[in-house]
Amino acid sequence: MTTAELHRMTGAYALHALSDEEHEAFERHLADCEPCAQETAELCATAARLGLAVSTTPLPVLRERVLRRIATVRQEPPGGPEPTRSGVARLRARLLSRWALAACLTAAAALGGTAVWQHQRAEDAVDQARRAERGADEIAAVLAAPDARSRSGELAAGATGSVVVSRSLDKAVFVVSGLARPSGGKVYQLWFDDHGTMRSAGLMDPRRSDQTVLMRGALDGASGMGVTVEPDGGSKQPTSAPLALMPFPG
């Protein structure tokens, strides 16, 4: 798209009449085009007047529903992520929000919320919450690290996994969803791949199909990671073919 073409798109942009790609191209252009920015702001304000002209009267039930919902919705921090983001940033934001949900559940457990942990004894829950809280801080640090890089892949049987690596922190976080429960008391074990030699990075919770795990131990120059199914308690070395092997992002 030429600059002259972009100049003429102010109206279409203000009316949300561009395709997603054009919308993004125009926003990049806006950052460097002061006159376009002024005109765009005015045309957006004009479009809002078209909206005000069709105001209507909502039913009271809408008010009740909205006010009930906001009581449970966490607000975003100020100056949060911009609407246009790179793939990595988008994935990281998605992981962070999923992690935030996990953190909420942890908080619920710590506060004695019984719904989440009702299948466990109370002392288990408190202990687990404490450990999860410690892990949660470290997970957050990896996800938020300026040098965090991520890679996603398909695991066997419809599960997907992503690994987020921060070399400055020398840590990795593994996020998985849709994981089937291993059969016969087996567990999933994580491994660092030291250029072909597997080093254990801890076990995953076999009861949860979606989880975010801090890989145990330092990266220490590992080239990738793997997941295997192991007997309860884990193994010193993998005893089965890996479910997944993923090189770390560069």
Partner: protein
């Protein structure tokens, strides 16, 4: 340029909304209830104009209002007034909901699309809303036929300029230009500043 006539909105209301939104950004639920009362009718109006289906409109409007709560901490006054920010969000979400419309559907419903004028809510008793409506209607009449159709199809029907070009059987470049000069004429007629 024509003398701008300001009759649509009570300018003293806007700073209130801005201030309320500032309190919402700090997690003030009571302030949010006031914001709701000030904007919910406009949010639902915008969404309903685009989405048409009543149940879906209410669903989208509800999501928009919750998004206002969620993202209020990110709202920046230098990016436009609070009501503009909220209605832009409402229009965007409404458009997202209907964007899946295929070109074929537009071809089939071309005549209907061109016939339908926006659903101005004639029953509202609120003087302010009626004045706003009359002013926008008056200014839409100052546009050329093509400008008015292009702007109306894009804003109130949620069409892309490509879809609008197809519905109007006009070249893409023409529609893009008409959307711009049409909105500029509306801006001047309504006396909009940003």
């Amino acid at each position: 340029m024509k003398e701008a006539v300001h009759i649509g909105r009570n300018p003293s209301k806007e700073p209130d909304l801005q201030e309320l939104l500032g309190r919402v950004a700090l997690g003030d639920e009571e302030a949010f209830a006031h914001v709701y009362d000030a904007v919910a009718g406009s949010v639902l109006g915008v969404v309903r104009a685009v989405v048409r289906d009543r149940a879906q409109s209410e669903e989208v409007a509800q999501d928009v209002l919750v998004e206002v709560w969620r993202t209020a901490p990110r709202y920046r006054t230098d990016r436009g007034t609070a009501i503009n920010w909220i209605l832009t969000l409402a229009h965007r979400r409404a458009v997202d909901r209907v964007r899946s419309v295929e070109a074929a559907v537009i071809r089939d419903h071309r005549a209907a699309l061109l016939e339908r004028t926006p659903e101005f809510d004639e029953v509202t008793e609120q003087v302010e809303a009626r004045l706003e409506r009359e002013q926008v209607r008056r200014c839409l009449r100052t546009l050329t036929e093509i400008q008015r159709q292009a702007v109306t199809l894009a804003y109130y029907r949620g069409l892309t300029y490509r879809q609008a070009a197809e519905a109007l059987s006009l070249p893409l470049g023409t529609v893009k230009t008409r959307l711009r000069d049409g909105l500029i004429r509306l801006r001047d007629c309504l006396g909009v500043t940003a």
